[in-house]
């Protein structure tokens, strides 16, 4: 470089320089600090679809919880059928969702009562499945080695079995009928997918510096898994579990519809649809329409909410 032009001022000592800089001690930039969950809630609130989804889903949950008490008809009181209208009656003021064929029951009552078990099985199976998946995936990803190998081979096999077939056979095998059994079966078949996800998360988080730091400080394995790694793996698990509620609700309805699910006398959306099948050729569209719409609305709500959660919890994962 060329010679510097002679400056007109004397050179400053470092102390003097510092004095100049200290003239404005207040110019540190303030940074707003929000926790991960506060940030996520902020983003979730801004996600219009997610809010719509949450309203749909929790609205349906409210219907399931309180609806049966508010309806004029009791589910267990079976009306005397009127032989002249064997196919049932279309929606009217007294029966806004119409009446079924055969026993001429109020479709609204069936749909509202069906919501309970359908939602319970969907949510319950997903929570149990996500918990098992998180534990298995966490153990496999954290410890690695032969444990990882063994667990992942089991997962491979579980994932390559045709799911619906096994559910059909197992629900037949175990007698079928009770809702918690069906819930348990769906839980058993929803964990392998989540455990793969959790394993890959743990594999990458295990190498993070803060985990090494914890280990160097003598923190035990269990505490590292639950205090240091799991909170950072939580977001994808929550999203996967939410979306799995939707798929369980649809599969449960289909299994019940085929007659392999919850006992046919108990109300679930799948059972109501299943019963309607004998009458569909007479054109009473209101019978299958409303339980199906209930499924669509619930599942749509969950999918909206799941995508909103994904964007809110893990903004980097967007498309």
């Amino acid at each position: 470089m060329t010679e510097i032009e002679t400056p007109r001022v004397k050179e400053l000592t470092p102390a003097e320089l510092e004095a100049i800089q200290l003239e404005r001690p207040d110019f540190e930039v303030k940074l707003e600090s929000l926790s991960q969950w506060q940030l996520a809630w902020r983003r979730f609130k801004k996600h219009r679809l997610a809010i719509v989804g949450a309203v749909l889903f929790f609205g349906m949950c409210a219907v399931a919880a309180f609806g049966p008490f508010l309806l004029p008809y009791n589910f267990y009181t079976i009306p005397t059928p009127d032989k002249f209208v064997y196919a049932g009656r279309p929606p009217s003021l007294a029966h806004p969702f119409g009446e079924t064929g055969g026993l001429q029951r109020d479709v609204l009552t069936l749909v509202v009562n069906g919501a309970r078990l359908s939602l319970l099985i969907g949510v319950g199976a997903s929570i149990v499945g996500a918990t098992i998946g998180a534990i298995v995936g966490g153990v496999a990803g954290y410890f690695g080695g032969w444990i990882d190998n063994l667990l992942m081979r089991i997962v491979d096999i579980m994932l390559s079995l045709p799911l619906l077939f096994v559910i059909l056979v197992v629900s037949k095998f175990l007698g079928g009928g009770s809702w918690y059994l069906i819930m348990f079966i769906f839980a058993i078949f929803s964990w392998p997918g989540i455990s793969r996800l959790v394993r890959s998360l743990f594999l990458s988080l295990r190498g993070e510096d803060y985990v090494d730091a914890a280990r160097a400080a003598g923190v035990g394995d269990v505490r590292i898994i639950f205090r240091h790694i799991l909170p950072n793996a939580m977001s994808p698990i929550i999203v996967a579990a939410t979306l799995s509620v939707a798929s369980v609700i649809i599969s449960e309805a289909f299994v019940s519809f085929l007659g392999f699910g919850v006992d046919v006398t108990t109300p679930t959306w799948g059972n109501v649809l299943s019963n309607s099948l004998n009458f569909i050729t007479v054109g009473n569209w209101w019978w299958p329409l409303f339980p199906g719409l209930a499924i669509v609305v619930t599942v749509l709500g969950i999918n909206f909410m799941g995508d909103g959660l994904r964007d809110a919890l893990d903004p980097r994962a967007r498309e």
Partner: protein, 365 residues
């Protein structure tokens, strides 16, 4: 690449064996079994049931049954049975082969315990129906999904893009079977314009798959096609609507990803017009994941349509599957599942090999 294909095929063998073992075990451990359907019949005695169980070998230990089903146990020593048996003629010389000729390894899938028909014949009957339905639907939805996905990605944030996103959300949330029921209720139950199910009109057309059917097809091709077509409209529509959602979203996001790459900016910076950027630079890259995805959908053509087939009583593989599950017809189930498993393995392989051809970065050896 051939070496890679052979290695992959060899690796698939233990997986296929493992899956078949587990399914076999699940099927046979389940209580009830094929004889369950006699339980309600007071005229069938316990002795008759025992005879039935003996006739089908159900009284033997499950590993032996599996071994026989597979075709490695028989009247000859263990491994000799696994080899091909019988006689072949090579250049006029008759050669006696020492192995067995029963079991899956010898192409023998056994017989249905419900009606005694050979499993291979049942599958042979059902497969064409499934391929016609699922294949037609597949071609339609792949074309629609591809065009709409690419268009939505190119016109991102446009009205079309938003409309497709909403449609996909709804499509994801539609239970297939419910859509089918509603279509039947409306078009068959109320409007009476389309048949409620089945594959042919039993009053005017001989059963599908019989020689009479093909004779009818030969003599009156237009009538036959019209009959098949009217029966296909509703199930094909159902399959297409629920499947477009997933595929178009997949195509859209892989196209968007390709369009966001640095090399797209490079192409624009060197003056490539928008058309060239989209169809030459982005599409070629976006196709890579799409090809893999299409490969993974091929097994669907064989069994995946079973929800739709059940709703519309379409006499295909899926319909048979539900029926056989209900009656514990395990040889038929094993046959159906084996075909699916083999198709799945080879579809994955085909997808990988295609990938290697299209993507210069991937080399298998």
């Amino acid at each position: 690449m051939i070496k890679y294909a052979v290695r992959r095929t060899l690796q698939a063998i233990p997986v296929l064996l493992g899956i078949s073992m587990i399914i076999y075990a699940i099927l046979l451990i389940a209580p009830g079994g094929p004889e369950a359907r006699f339980a309600q019949n007071p005229r069938i005695t316990a002795d008759q049931i025992a005879a039935f169980r003996h006739r089908w070998g159900l009284d033997q230990p499950i590993p032996i049954q599996y071994c026989k089903w597979l075709g490695v146990c028989g009247d000859k020593p263990f491994l000799v049975n696994a080899l091909p048996g019988g006689t072949i003629e090579l250049a006029g010389v008759r050669i006696e082969l020492p192995g067995g000729d029963n079991g899956v390894l010898h192409g023998d899938f056994g017989f249905s315990v419900v009606n005694g028909e050979p499993v291979a014949a049942i599958i042979g009957d059902r497969l064409p129906a499934t391929l016609i339905l699922a294949g037609t639907a597949w071609v339609i939805w792949v074309i629609i999904a591809f065009i709409s996905g690419v268009y939505a990605a190119v016109k991102r944030y446009s009205l079309f893009d938003s409309a497709l996103t909403v449609f996909n959300y709804v499509g994801f949330s539609f239970p297939t079977f419910w859509l089918g029921i509603m279509l039947i209720t409306v078009f068959a139950g109320s409007l009476h314009v389309l048949p409620a199910g089945g594959m042919w009109n039993a009053r005017t057309v001989p059963p599908f798959g019989t020689s009479e059917y093909w004779a009818f097809f030969g003599s009156q091709p237009l009538n036959a096609l019209a009959d098949l077509g009217t029966h296909m409209i509703l199930p094909v529509f159902t399959l297409v609507v629920v499947s477009i959602a997933y595929d178009s979203r997949f195509v859209r996001s892989s196209m968007l990803e390709a369009l966001n790459q640095d090399y797209i900016r490079t192409a624009r910076a060197k003056g490539v017009p928008e058309r060239g950027v989209v169809f030459r630079h982005a599409l070629r890259n976006a196709l890579l994941p799409v090809i893999t995805n299409l490969g993974l959908e091929i097994p669907f053509l064989f069994t995946g349509a079973f929800v739709t087939e059940t709703i519309f009583s379409w006499p295909g593989m899926g319909f048979q599957f539900i029926q056989s599950t209900a009656s514990f017809d395990y040889p038929v189930l094993m046959g159906l599942l084996s075909v699916t498993a083999v198709v799945t393995v080879f579809a994955n392989l085909a997808a990988d090999l295609t990938y290697a051809i299209v993507d210069p970065r991937v080399k298998y050896d």
